[in-house]
Symmetry: none
Subunit: 121 residues, 2 copies
DNA sequence: ATGAAAATGACAACCATTTTCATTTCTGTT
DNA sequence: AACAGAAATGAAAATGGTTGTCATTTTCAT
């Protein structure tokens, strides 16, 4: 198993908590860090698994990683500028539980994302 | 400029109004239609431009196209056997609209999936 | 110091998507 | 029907993000 290279996380923080693997790699190289693209990807995967970061997709399909608080929440993302708002999902939790019960499912989890165009775009 | 091949649209409809370019292409070939993957992509681009379809991203980054104005549904998936139930998302639609308004976003879309363990597992 | 396990990175493989370009089909005009 | 020009098509190559491979280096406990 591969562990996260701590410099990757700190670079993601420095990038504003929101960047793609390629961007993180370029940033690190520009700052003189010697690190391979492969290691950046691996570190991000590991951070993902540990739920320290979160992954979304840009319009062009590129994956962008962002730091994630540990409380369960959802995101409202602007499709054109990437601005992100964290959202409480109380309504969804209830809905998920109700639907699960109705169909005899248990151990319910859910994922939900909202996307649109923000006021500035 | 390229126009949409009408068979692409009708195949997307037949697929439940929700499919990737590759899936549409495979479906058409399985049904004996002679069409190139390139044309499928081109047709989808054109349908996008005409706002007849909408594009989202799967978790793996693949683009999935959806008929616009299609009241879409969500899925409740069993993690162990894969059994899937289609679900109405009225509650989510309302929630999405409310949250969007609250934050000044417009043209709101959303994706949501529920997963758990079904009664048989 | 020594060996085992983990981490690393150069490179190749993958796969969805786009571009290129030669060929075919469609369209309207004579 | 014949023709020309435009649009559509699709095979193949190019693109680009991401993942897999594997030999080498580093880490770490004994």
């Amino acid at each position: 198993m591969s562990r996260s290279n701590p410099r990757v996380l700190s670079t993601l923080e420095r990038a504003g908590g929101f960047a793609s693997a390629q961007e993180i790699h370029k940033l690190m190289q520009r700052e003189g860090e010697k690190i391979g693209l492969t290691t950046v990807y691996r570190s991000l995967q590991s951070l993902l698994g540990d739920k320290i970061v979160d992954v979304l997709r840009r319009d062009d399909g590129e994956a962008i990683y962002r730091l994630c608080g540990d409380s369960h929440h959802h995101h409202l993302v602007c499709k054109s500028c990437g601005k992100t708002v964290e959202i409480e999902g109380g309504a969804i939790e209830k809905w998920a539980k109700a639907v699960a019960l109705e169909h005899g499912f248990r151990d319910i989890g859910h994922s939900a994302e909202l996307f649109g165009t923000c006021a500035d775009c």
